[in-house]
Amino acid sequence: MKAELHEISVNFGTFCAVDNVSLSFAPGEIHALVGENGAGKSTAMSVLFGLNTDYQGNIVINDQHRRWKSPADAISAGVGMVHQHFMLQETMSVLENVILCSEPVNKLGFVSFTTAAKSVQNLIDSYDLQIDQTQKVAELSVGQRQAVEILKLLYRKSDLLILDEPTAVLTPNEKNELFQSLSNFKASGKSIILITHKIDEVMMIADKVSVMRSGNLISSKLLKNTSKDEIQQNIIGGALPKPIKRKQMHPKNIGFEMQKVIIPGLATRRKPISLKVYLGEIVGIAGVSGNGQTPLVEAIVGLRNILSGNMLLSNETISDKDVSARRKIGLSYIPEDRQRVGLALDASVIENSCVSQIRNKKFSNGYFFNLQHLRKFSEQLVSEYDIRVGTVKSKVRTMSGGNKQKLVVARELEQKKQLVIAENPTWGVDIGAINKIHQELIKMRDMGHAILLVSNEIEEIMGLSDRIHVMANGQLSESMNSAQVTANKLGKLMLSHNEPTLSEKLEKMQP
């Protein structure tokens, strides 16, 4: 099918998310829609999929003007979308999820599972997927879940497939396999839209590239008519940021150490974890989300108990201490989930800046706090990190993702604690903010702090770390010197052994 967006604009109140964007998608083509976080790519596609019905402009399918009232309309017209955050029902089986909302029903409304199961099994067999359709989704690995999402599209015979950041949760190997299958889809005449912010992937697989920035369409060209540099320039809208310089450090003292720690909930096999972070270095833990990073970080911060082993911070045992004691000894934490764990969205910037330090002498006398000092401190943070917000009294909810993250980073780093734990610190953040955050982390390192960086972005790990571990299946690899490691090697280590590869399955995907 041929699909076009004509002069689409989407406004959320006074904020313009998509500004007069026109795009066309041809059959048998992989069209990459790129731009940094917050550029408006997902919003524009949500219009095409019918999730967003409040827009100006037109949707044209096969030369006919269409208007969707809900995703149901888009789906029946042949448009399918795999979202960044999977839309699956955990307690239901693969089968139930695949047919959800399109179930075959009899006159009384009862679903004929036998018919459905047959069709779905057909699809599974023809593409040789290693999925048991009776399994509950909750038991599936991330790669398998994505396969279910794609299965949903196949079941509904979608001709236009929109994939939103599909590789964010895949290991490098799985990525290649996904791309192989996408090529096969393309060969069979389907139209594919790939929303991504990763240019390397675009160069690998796309036929056409459209760049969006701040809601505007900057360019839309065939891949062969453009270059990686040009695309990057369009995404950023200016010069590329300079690579960050770092001091030559000779770390001698241990800032933080874990000795044979066993953490409950860390995958099925409870292998003891040992690692060291010296003062003046950044240790990176690479790995795809969901391999035990969260329990590990929670155990270090103090939100989760450990079963055995020892943890030392500044040579003090912290295994039995609570979060506030650990913070006092010398810990700061930049959480992955800024909305729920990093900030209180309905509180002001001032209130969010000082929670960990409120009992500090400079902010309170134990009973009453000093509003002036709090305000000065938060204003300092805002100016130092160039945080865009109305005033420090504004609610944090009004800030953009990048600014929220900068506030969290500013607040934590400003405490100048020995150990900084940074968990996916630049997830969902625009390039300007990413750069600033990376700069500040390196600054902390150069000043002699110990930084533990946990991230699922290989580039980030390799760009910042002095030493690297890989986390897969709850197990931590040996430490490697970052200078001696390649992205490929990391990728191999990140492969989880349990999952059947998204590989051979989608290999022969033909309609």
Binding site: L303, D322, V341, F369
Partner: protein, 342 residues
Amino acid sequence: MTHRLYSLLAASMLLLMTFASLIWLADADFFKSIMAFFKGAFGGRKYAYLLVTISRAALITGMAIAALIAFRAGLFNIGGEGQLVIGGLASAFVAINLPFGGPAGIFLVLLAGMIAAGGWAIIAGIMKLWLGVPILVGTLLLNYPARYIASYFVSHPLRDISSGMPQTHLIEKSLWLPLIPGTRLDIGFIFILLVFCLVLIYCYRTVGGYEAKMTGLSIDFANASGLKTKKISLKTLALSGAIAGLVGAIAVLGLHHRFTDGMLVQPLYAWTGIVAALMVSLIPWAVLPAGFFFAAIHSGASGMERTADVPKEIAIIIQGMIILFVASKVPAAFNQNIGDGK
């Protein structure tokens, strides 16, 4: 802007229509009822009814403050009724058995009420922290035992047999709260005003109030930031219960001078306080006008029953409808983990 005005008008129209239909159902005269309402709330000889409204407002506002403190910290304490009753019972018990009277006695009685009710609230806190029982459910389920315990005590051990009713003896005059000279209004409302001011300071200026607020806005954020949320929860529940107990003690010493079965439950002080606090989205200074507002509605309805033969329950209906309209206009006061009402 016009949209808001329009919806305000529509809501007012609906309320008025509901009000009118209810009056019609009661076979009462519409205008007579309206007059009776305003007289009942604000009028009377020497403003007697206005003073009653103030007295009532004190109790409702007090309960609203108790609810505010808890909800603000993320604790769904809907056990205000139980805490109120336990506080009232304890204060009556102490008042009757106290060997002396006067201001010192009054102070002790109020304290007794606060401690007993605070303790009752902490039971729910302990159940949550050590047994995993959600606060919403724990505080709610403690309401009933509280009621029955109080009922038992005033029907048997503490009963004033000669009065023929399930109530305690009359408390000796030196323990009664003094009245405002020239009126029948006791100074209980001044205590509540004092508590109100202290709570405002607590919410806006103290470290404790700040930490409680952060805990209420996002428990995960609070934990990760190092706040001792367990301690904060217990302290807050104790404070919330204590305030409810104070209200109960004030009702016993100032209004009724004894504890009668059901006297704190029937007028729905606790539930009215809860909805008043929720209605103003837990904004601390706003619970005072909200409490007064609802007290006026109740007094007005009593007036309507006296003069125009309209059952006074109309107050509860109107109050509920106002809550519905207001609750759907203002943003949710708190984040919830829907599922087990933590």
